[in-house]
Symmetry: C2
Subunit: 331 residues, 2 copies
Amino acid sequence: MKRPTIHDVAAAAGVSRGTVSRLLNGDKYVSPAARVAIERAISETGYVVNRAARSLVTQRTGSVVMVLSEPHEKLFEDPNYSTLIRVAIRMLAERDLSLVMMLAGDEGDRERVVRYVRGGHADGVLLVSTHAGDPLLDALRTGPPAVSCGPVIGRETVIPYAAADDRLGARQMTEYFVGLGRKRIAMITGPMDTPGGIQRLEGFADVLGRKATTRLIAHGDWTQASGERAMTELLERTPDIDAVFVASDLMAAGALAALRAAGRRVPDDVAVGGFDDSSVAVSTHPPLTTIRQPLAEMAQETLRLLLALIDGAGHVDPVVLPTELVIRESA
Amino acid sequence: MKRPTIHDVAAAAGVSRGTVSRLLNGDKYVSPAARVAIERAISETGYVVNRAARSLVTQRTGSVVMVLSEPHEKLFEDPNYSTLIRVAIRMLAERDLSLVMMLAGDEGDRERVVRYVRGGHADGVLLVSTHAGDPLLDALRTGPPAVSCGPVIGRETVIPYAAADDRLGARQMTEYFVGLGRKRIAMITGPMDTPGGIQRLEGFADVLGRKATTRLIAHGDWTQASGERAMTELLERTPDIDAVFVASDLMAAGALAALRAAGRRVPDDVAVGGFDDSSVAVSTHPPLTTIRQPLAEMAQETLRLLLALIDGAGHVDPVVLPTELVIRESA
DNA sequence: GACTTTTGTGTGAACGTGCACAGTAAAGCT
DNA sequence: AGCTTTACTGTGCACGTTCACACAAAAGTC
């Protein structure tokens, strides 16, 4: 009961291996008669090509590896990954490519990834939430094409990416607060070594200018707990805050808890704005006014870039997509 | 600049291919001298084995495929996947196996999965949230070993799994409500064609017996919106409810919104219990009392079963793990 | 009619590995 | 001393595919 090979199909169809191979790979020189005979033979035998054998000669693997750079504990706290994974599987499947997942949380992981990619086991690399200065970036300079979902900043090593316009989103939220007549607008940022951390603060500062003083800015690490801590800190430092822009919904959920604990009403006393429009935004009380990132398009564009590079495009330009203000009850 | 092969390593080390291959595959008959020479040659040349070539001769692929059976839209709403993916990548990596992801949302996807697996492209299959009666189950009866994270009920086709004791968890929560002195305890279940939907209701009924009437039971589909709908429905049908056990945290978040809209205080008027102990459980107001599933162990055990089967174990027994009550403020 | 081009087909070699087998030398046993 | 076992090494073949090439017949061109 061994699986049929291309030989078996050829024999069943009364042609040679070469002709079957040509049909399989879309070569134009296959006669109509041969075509139908082969197609019948394939479905009769249940033949499916052996990718290992194909890889051996084509030097392609038919797979793309997605590298998750988050430290292990917080992996997937961010629900954005789900969209990316889904879109990736789907778009790759159309090209008969499969998606393999790897972790790059610690040094050992990272070495494994480099070995894997350098060893020629992937036709492309999909980086996710890679930090600036990650040694992976240098290690992957040679080898198959790599792209990132979300920008990777820093160093001379530039890698193509598709991302939301974080800075624009931050401006949208801050301008909304200003339009609401809020006077003392604070911000809780993400880590300052991530693009989201930096650019969302830049957008905030774009609008407020000199009014964005350090007394009104606190830093979090994307976790809910850090949002709570940062909010508490801000309230101690500057009690008369009447609005706060939090750089992620999850941290905003933490900030809401801190505000509640301090007896402030939301949005009456303090308006709260999040970022991401993730699922937590609707499960908090009150539901969060936030900035939606076009997740699906980001994922699609990221894959489009990667596929273009795999197809031999020498160079592709990064893609930046607009964000959108989503008004709910927290502001 | 082509990649080094096992020949190159052998030449550099002054031995034959066979000896290098033996070292690589852990054969005991390699002299210490040869060992060091080969190891040096490997690191000097940067050699890494070509999996395609290896697959071709061993008839193994070195990869396990994870099949996500959720319809696309709600994929990953459940944060449990993240743990499973993480654990899977990790445990598979230790065995030098890689994880490839596939979707099985519609008919086309499912056919692709079957082709892939039947085509011998995976050494094992990891099913996730597969519904009863899924045609995949029959299609995968032949081929490499398959296991499921979470039980797959129905049919004669039994597949090994590791799961939390849903029924126990439901009993724990219901008993807790009873101990609190609550008299009219309602339940919002999951879909009744899923193990979680069925077994959590069974546990509820185990404790309440004849008191678990249909007037006190409403059905949801795991989404937050469905939890809100079901809660509204229950309040209309039976206004004097003083406790409600909701079969998932996400649905419980919806139920909280419905209770708030109806002016009921939680937990004073109505105690609310969730299930899963997912991340939403701490971002709701008030935070949810819920049932924790041992996610990490479930994932570990699932992988242990799969690896055992891949190693040739003819049969493995399903694993059922105990749940735990987590008391927060909603009850 | 002698050519080139187009369309279609078959064949041998190569991709890089593991495994069965053959072979050798040293050590252990009677 | 003769025989068996242990430790180690090298070689040929097979895995299933693609690709370059050779070849053949039909169709078009001068």
